[in-house]
């Protein structure tokens, strides 16, 4: 009844090609933005920021990044954790070397450094595909973690090999370090996520995104119609790594505050982000959000439910929680192999006809 194209007349091409052509969708989008920017920052406390919102926002950035590479361009990557580590260590080196420069610039530069590293490790994708490429990126993961552990220059020769984020401010508000208010943390990540998601959405709707999808669907056919595989694949690696690098920088500087490469950016991180993308839906920006929400919030929710409300022993709850999350993943993939984004698409189709389906 409300969710429909009928009656929503477009008189310009610009209107016709906008991201949310349906009026209801558009309002929903503005409402979410209004809540996220206008209401949440006033209600948020330390627990909600550190356990729920900040990790969700950061993992969303990483998931969008991986979705560009895997979902849109069809190149499987298991190097996400390693690329996040590049972002984190680049941010740390920049923060400590140029303390007077704004942290926002450092985070973006860290993304840039990661993009360069990503392109370097993306070069083999011109020759190898599928599982073989996955193994090459897996090598990147292990090599990068080893490098940051082995070379003391990266962690400024600290005794324990830990990197610690010193306090940095934007407009006089601390956004890294322990004195950061939850609202500042949240808003900093939210602004970056909003800008990057907007960028990703529009990239994938334009020429570049269409080239990526052409390569994904059939690379030889794409080459024949004039898509250059070199620039297309490498641009996908660069953009994807930029996103993941920014996510890594935020993960270290804003969320954790201190990090150790093997623990924070190990192979589990690569798999976690890959699962987010698969569960959320390959080739969908909304899917990246949904997948990140599912894998970040579900464990916290279950923990609060089992330990906080039901009073179970913590070890039993932790084991059951793993089983429930695992079970749900299997269930979702059987019921809807295209991920949560497909469920959302189906819901929208049904909504168009509601309440009078044929």
């Amino acid at each position: 009844m409300f969710y429909r194209e009928a009656g929503d007349f477009k008189t310009r091409y610009v209107d016709d090609s906008q991201t949310f052509p349906i009026r209801f969708d558009r309002w929903r989008y503005y409402a979410v933005l209004a809540v996220a920017f206008g209401i949440v920052p006033f209600l948020i406390n330390d627990y909600w920021a550190n356990a729920v919102f900040v990790p969700f926002l950061i993992y969303s950035i990483a998931a969008i990044g991986l979705n560009i590479l895997t979902g849109y361009c069809g190149q499987v990557s298991l190097g996400t954790g390693g690329f996040m580590a590049v972002g984190a260590y680049a941010c740390y080196k920049l923060m400590t070397a140029f303390p007077e420069v704004s942290i926002l610039i450092h985070v973006l530069l860290a993304g840039g450094v990661t993009a360069l590293v990503g392109v370097l490790f993306g070069l083999p994708s011109l020759r190898i595909k599928g599982f073989y490429l996955a193994v090459a990126t897996l090598a990147a993961q292990f090599f990068l973690v080893w490098l940051f552990n082995k070379v003391p220059w990266f962690y400024n020769y600290s005794a324990s090999g830990q990197i610690n984020a010193p306090e940095r401010t934007i407009f006089g508000q601390a956004v890294t370090g322990a004195a950061t208010t939850p609202a500042a943390k949240y808003l900093f990540c939210l602004v970056i996520l909003f800008a990057l998601a907007w960028l990703a959405r529009n990239l994938t709707r334009g020429t570049i995104g269409r080239k990526w999808m052409a390569i994904r669907d059939m690379d030889i056919a794409a080459e024949i119609i004039g898509v250059n595989p070199l620039t297309t694949k490498l641009s996908a690696f660069a953009v994807s790594s930029f996103f993941i690098g920014v996510a890594g920088a935020l993960f270290f500087a804003v969320y954790l505050g201190a990090a150790e490469v093997g623990e924070a950016f190990g192979i589990q991180k690569s798999f976690l982000v890959l699962f987010m993308v698969i569960i959320g839906g390959l080739g969908s920006i909304f899917g990246s959000f949904a997948g990140a929400a599912f894998l970040v919030l579900m464990p916290v929710l279950l923990k609060n439910l089992l330990v906080g409300t039901l009073g179970w022993p913590t070890d039993l709850a932790a084991h059951i929680e793993l089983m429930i999350v695992g079970g749900l993943i299997v269930l979702f993939l059987i019921v809807e192999p295209h991920g949560l984004a497909q469920l959302w698409r189906l819901a929208k189709e049904k909504l168009r006809l509601w309440p009078f389906p044929h």
Partner: protein, 427 residues
């Protein structure tokens, strides 16, 4: 977006806050994952001691102690979540039993003004109370431990280690890397060669590391391991026939769980001990009567008396003594975290007091001060007897070489102070 909102609504419903307790002590424990073998006995000992105080004495100074357990799986992200989840309920002190989580929490507790107690682990330079106002790591820390082992080896070799080769097998993390600066300084001082052999977490696979040890033939192997890594290392050492009496672990690599899987091959393995273990202390009679016998034991109740159980109990004992001290100083029983910090700083544990608590000759006496948050740092050496399945203490307390450690502590804490703009206290 919809999923997110639904999940949030559900979260809000289930975020039940536990009732505000008089003395709330969170226990960030881990009973799952590759480090559970160490986490479970420690958490049990920690919980049981507070249960004993509640059941026998009605709490501390008449105030009941409520221990809220939160599972971290030795994972820093979950550790942060646990910290944020528990700190709102008036948490008095944190003891996360993880060096990684400790590094994460040091800046946070300093802002939230909650003491952090990390006995025998965490950031070593936190022993410098001038810089680390909220962190306490007495009675001993990693650098003390490294120096204690070298002190023991000096004694074994007639005071001369020049030309010897000593390998350090370590967990490749903040924890395992901690002793390297001290050992490097000691190697320069005593003329031995230090071979660094990192093992990536969790450490189930160590074939190549032990191949390297077999090739290099070090005179001694030291180990900074934890969880599953310990048992694997001892098994691998047995596989290459490395003489067990030359293999010495830190206090985190010296529990029953580490040596039992290797069976008889582990006989003679040594480790540091910063306190006694076993059931020969009067406190166990009370524990049996009020906690274990009464069915109130934490976990499965099968860890009582083990090395790590004793260490959890030791940590709980020091915390309870600090609370008592604070109650004395402030004159009221319901203390706050800020007041407790002063108690930690004024704490003195004497041998007489330990005996009163039912733990005679269990640990070293120490007294904290504004500058000294690290304690004397002594440790004993214990050796595993595989046929009796028992740890035997083979040395008295060995003192660390403060001449080497103090400058390192000062340098590291000064670096931390410079990075974070902290002014020195206690002047």
């Amino acid at each position: 977006m919809k999923t997110r909102l639904t999940a949030l609504a559900a979260l809000a419903l289930t975020c039940a806050t536990p009732a505000l307790a008089d003395l709330n002590i969170p226990n960030l424990s881990y009973r799952t994952g590759p480090f559970a073998a160490g986490g479970i006995p420690y958490a049990d000992g920690f919980n049981d001691y507070f249960t004993l105080l509640n059941e026998r004495d009605g709490g501390i100074g008449g105030e009941k102690v409520v221990v809220t357990e939160c599972e971290t799986a030795y994972n820093t992200e979950k550790g942060v979540e646990c910290y944020e989840a528990t700190k709102g309920n008036g948490a008095l002190v944190y003891n996360p039993l993880s060096t990684g989580i400790t590094y994460q929490l040091i800046p946070k507790v300093s802002v939230d003004k909650i003491p952090l107690y990390t006995p025998g682990y965490g950031r070593t330079s936190a022993a410098n109370g001038k810089i680390f106002e909220w962190v306490f790591n007495y009675p001993a820390n990693y650098w003390d431990g490294a120096s204690d082992i070298v002190g023991y080896l000096l004694g074994e070799n007639g005071g001369d280690l020049s030309g010897k080769k000593i390998a350090l097998v370590y967990h490749n993390s903040a924890y395992g890397k901690e002793p390297i600066p001290t050992l490097t300084a000691l190697a320069a001082k005593h003329g031995f060669t230090l071979i660094e052999v990192p093992v990536d977490s969790p450490g189930q696979e160590q074939k190549s590391q032990w191949l390297q040890i077999r090739r290099d033939k070090p005179d001694y192997v030291l180990m900074w391991g934890w969880g599953v890594m310990n048992a694997v290392a001892i098994q691998e050492a047995a596989n290459i026939n490395y003489p067990m009496e030359n293999f010495i672990g830190v206090w985190w690599s010296g529990s029953e769980n580490d040596v039992l899987p290797a069976g008889d091959a582990a006989n003679g393995y040594k480790s540091l001990a910063m306190h006694g273990s076993g059931m020969d202390y009067p406190v166990y009679a009370d524990l049996e009567k009020f906690v274990v016998g009464a069915g109130k034991a934490s976990g499965a109740g099968d860890q009582v008396g083990t090395v790590l159980y004793s260490r959890g109990m030791y940590a709980a004992m020091v915390i309870s003594e600090a609370i008592r001290k604070t109650q004395e100083m402030t004159g009221h029983a319901a203390i706050t975290a800020v007041e407790l910090r002063d108690g930690f700083e004024a704490l003195e544990i004497t041998e007489a007091r330990m005996a009163e608590l039912g733990l005679p000759n269990f640990g070293q006496p120490f007294a904290a001060s504004c500058t000294d948050h690290g304690g004397p740092g002594q440790a004993m050496i214990q050796q595993w007897d595989a046929s009796a399945k028992k740890w035997n203490l083979i040395t008295p307390f060995i003192a660390p070489d403060e001449e080497v450690i103090q400058p390192l502590v000062d340098a590291d804490s000064a670096a931390f102070a410079a990075e974070n703009n902290i002014a020195e206290r206690c002047n």
